[in-house]
Symmetry: D2
């Protein structure tokens, strides 16, 4: 017997909205309801997302509470700062999933510092695999199993989907933080990021002519808005003081994030080995359908995750450098955005979390 979930998507003409619709269109329990837009209201979805053939003839309507009414789930794929107002007008018993940043940060100060607008409040965080302390500071055992954010999503009616870069960096680092193996006080992350991560905004440096054949860093020097969110996650996993140098680099691919993170060992772990380290990542992700530690020696590439909801991780200890290096690959639009939303929706509604999601990447 099927239940059918009616889902509306607000902001359907952007990349995040489009990717959400790509997944929902093939989700066995979902019926796609209203598709809303702001300036694009009145146009057809196929003018913006011609790759979504089964929905191409659907018309976009204005983003209003009226148009979003009568759905079981409303996905907000709106510009940062825009979802607070509309969410406030939606019934409490409707599952509202925010792909924007508005409801991610617990600290109003962090919000002010990085987004310079009024803090909309905090919603349950849509990263089921996020590790939660206590028990996090010591290596987990059968007696004190790891707890994860998943349990906070069951039955939730408001969900804040993580930032894409945040997901890649958090999933790479957190097992080492939660197990106390890594020192969170001097982290470094450099990310190769595909252009869809920058959204559909018409800026010169996002033109194909500029991006093709080039690597372009941006938000260098600590200004990127994903930094406080990473720190918040690692604190949740058990870190006290988190400091991270974070540099994203746009590279010529439409999708994908390859995050290279490095950290020093925490005091007292000097004599460790790569094999020993792997146990913590293994334990953190064993049984997870979408986060996987690759076999020793195999490193993730973004192509492995294209179109899939997988996050692939590898870790090694560089003894000469005295640093642990962790590499994580995700598809920024799937596990980094829309896939995390669908996985969290499944959990919130009591469905199998894997429904409508795949682990097979589209490669080569």
């Amino acid at each position: 017997m099927h239940m059918t979930i009616r889902v509306a998507v607000a902001g359907a003409s952007g990349y995040a909205g489009g990717e959400t619709l790509r997944l929902l269109a093939d989700h066995p329990e979902v019926e796609v309801g209203a598709l809303t837009a702001h300036s694009n209201a009145g146009t057809l979805l196929g003018e913006h997302h011609p790759h979504l053939r089964s929905l191409a003839a659907r018309e976009l309507v204005p983003t209003t509470p009226e148009n979003l009414a009568g759905h079981d789930v409303v996905v907000l794929a709106l510009p940062h700062g825009a979802s607070g107002a509309i969410a406030a007008q939606l019934p409490d018993d409707v599952l509202v999933i925010d792909l924007g940043a508005d409801h991610r940060l617990a600290s109003a100060d962090d919000w002010q510092a990085y987004y310079r607008s009024e803090h909309a409040g905090t919603w349950p965080y849509g990263m089921p695999e996020l590790l939660l302390a206590p028990g996090a500071r010591t290596a987990p055992t059968e007696d004190t199993p790891l707890t994860k954010q998943r349990e906070n999503l069951t039955g939730a009616r408001r969900i804040a989907v993580p930032g894409c870069n945040v997901t890649a960096v958090t999933l790479g680092l957190q097992p080492g933080i939660a197990s106390g193996l890594l020192d969170p006080a001097d982290l470094v992350a450099v990310l190769a990021v595909g252009y869809s991560g920058a959204g559909k905004s018409l800026k010169p440096h996002l033109l194909a002519a500029e991006g093709l054949g080039s690597a372009q860093p941006y938000a260098v020097g600590g200004s990127h808005r994903h930094i406080p969110e990473i720190a918040q996650n690692l604190r949740a996993a058990g870190a006290h003081d988190v400091s991270i140098s974070f540099t994203p680099v746009l590279v010529p691919m439409s999708r994908g994030i390859l995050a290279t993170a490095t950290a020093r060992l925490a005091p007292g772990h000097a004599g460790t080995t790569t094999r020993a380290l792997r146990e913590a990542w293994d334990e953190a992700y064993v049984g997870e359908p979408f986060v996987e530690l690759l076999p020793e020696g195999q490193w993730p590439t973004t192509a492995m995750t294209l179109g899939a909801n997988t996050a692939l991780v590898q870790v090694a200890f560089d003894e000469r450098a005295g640093r642990v290096v962790m590499v994580t690959a995700i598809d920024n639009l799937v596990k980094g955005t829309a896939g995390a939303a669908v996985q969290s929706m499944n959990i919130a509604l009591g469905l199998p979390q894997t429904l409508g999601l795949t682990v097979q990447g589209v490669a080569p």
Copy 2:
């Protein structure tokens, strides 16, 4: 109630084999059986296709009749010329699907001329949407509906999957040929082709350093092996003498074919318009789940079809040039290879033809 179909893939380490496994791994009625290889026997699938997470730990066994025995379906993803011998040793009641060229051409002379080896014979052709004359020479009507190759695939136990470029060019041209609107005697096709279309062969011009930032033509001047197969298809659709100038150009993308075909109008159709032409394409593809004529004025791009089994077509009449131009986009590894195989398998086994296939492209 579920039936489970056991499918073996011979040549699992190549691109065609890998893509077939990507689709089969998520096919609701399929259980993936033996994975075989030649020089890669004994290695794990994950060493060759790390993007296929659910099958990564599977070991490749040698390509022998013994290893392929006990399956309902055997997919042959072998080098051209290799499938004839192995197919001859498989039981008649097993569905054998050949992704290679060996069983596509009806003419032994064509085979000799282009492949220079012994002709393995001809199998039912795995292009369900291929139009079949008679009735083809006149515009189809309710009384004389179009017949298609689909009906020849029902219950088939041997299927030859079309070449990827052949599929793009045939689906673009055939409605105009079958309806008698186009003159098949002077066709021109130029294709932008992604690198996976060249297979996993280690040749200098296929290196990333050579391909990135460049457009490279190949097999120019009439030597490409897909030419006789296109002509065979258009003759099946009703053409008498077919002659086609065919030029593929490798462009910097991993997947996708964008085929631009042009043709002169057949005698007696001088006064036509784009709108009038569209009726023939509309009629040919109405109700087809995977082949679609786009709305007037919208042209296909390969990104619209990435990872999907769709072929998107557009047609226009250039009055000044006196030529009709048709553009078709497909994913060379899906509708061009593995998706056509799965769609044909579904038809042959009496399943819904869309099972395990999507129409949503992975874009941007």
Copy 3:
């Protein structure tokens, strides 16, 4: 002893202006003078073209006759339709080179039909290698050598630089037209084009996220503005009635045009061979520093021409198809735009035409 030529560039912040400056900055006889812009006036060149290190600190001034005064050469890199007005205000003895389309077309009707604005008149055409009839209809001999557009550029003070696609198609086809080997009445050209060819305009389909991994046709069906210019060139080379089906396809590279053109043999040449055809192309381009017929069997790629002023051509006869296929590769911003401007400037001013230009491509 050096002469120093002072050159101003109007429209310096766009791609055509930037590429002109890249070449002029290293030109041994040139001193770069005023750099002008419209909305970008008051900014530094380095904000728009940070790759031009020796000019990065130069300020852009408004595009006015006053700012352009006092130069030996003024290059206009302005939007189509804008150069007529400013050119009218420049002295007759200043060499004015228009990179825009305004002064290319001899026919006011063609201008109206494709550009829908007032015709600014016609200037000497900046394609030195353009073949000129008469003598063109018969195979050239020692007694009746080929004449070329070069001689019309010596001493010229107004030059209209050809369109980039026009250059690629004209140089590929014209030897066959001038020698009477090809029938100009049914030509087909399909071009793989890099994104810089679309200019620096902020349109969604030009975003990197859209272009990467995709092939996108545009201006399909006979609407492209370069069509009448190609026809004009081929008529100059000796064709009577020219008709050409022209389809450009954007592919994921920042620069480069690979033009595949096909034509039927003219009556009376049925028995020809590729070798025989090559003689006409050989004769047309022997001694040309920047246009080269590649050795038989080697086909051009755009990477061979990146950053160079070369046009590389290959030709073959496809007997089965009954068509001759010609492939031409150029860098759209060099031989297709700025390089043609510098070469023409050299000729107009009596300098060696190769000054400041290279034949070595930047590859891989």
Copy 4:
């Protein structure tokens, strides 16, 4: 009056050899002499580097002392480990420039550890801008100017050209090391690298189908051979103990390195600012023709350096992270290899160091 320098290139069919020839072909004082190869001897250069039009017809001869005799300069573009033997057979008064790693490392132990073969000895290091201690530990002043490696190259007859990644990382970090502002004991570098950096080797992960649309890390965890060379350079600049975490990531471009390096401030510099830091980089590179600190706030991209001999650097202090971030962009084949060779050759022979080299990148 011109002097003409006869230059031979051994290993002309590879990428490093080809790029050297691209620069030498347009060098005003150079005559290209013998071109040698191993397995490709007897073929034409145009079969391997068709982009080098002026040399395409030149034949490759075997790499022997006889064929390399009678030249003023011999450039060795051979596989690592191969140049020692051939160099030993060349006269002392011939300038021999090794593009391979054989003569870079002063420590035989480092060579053994990373290259596992016999150490060929150490040659003057071809990085003119390398800073040399003493005086390096204190901020430089008029009285104690910075000394650089340039002076060790004047009149040299043996030169070891640096590794491409080494050049990017060294030029970014060394001003901070030499001035004592940065702590060399915990450096982190992550590099986005184009595929030509991997050379012309036929490996599956270097195929275009694999590289397009993907980011692939390699030699992760401290195994990359460039690590000891970076440490050697930073020690030369004044560091005592150097330790660096180094991760290269292949991204879909044919050329270019974007190196993101981070370091902690040295003790006693806690209160610093980005502006204060910039002074050290400014002082290190003021007057350098090919290494430039970009204006504050502008970050390098690889496209800015394509085909040019420039290294573009930017630095900023991330106060929250407590780390300084430095980004450097180069063209791996120019400033990273062949351009460094030509610049060093110019210096060794007493020519202006900029001869035959440009600072203008080929962009977009």
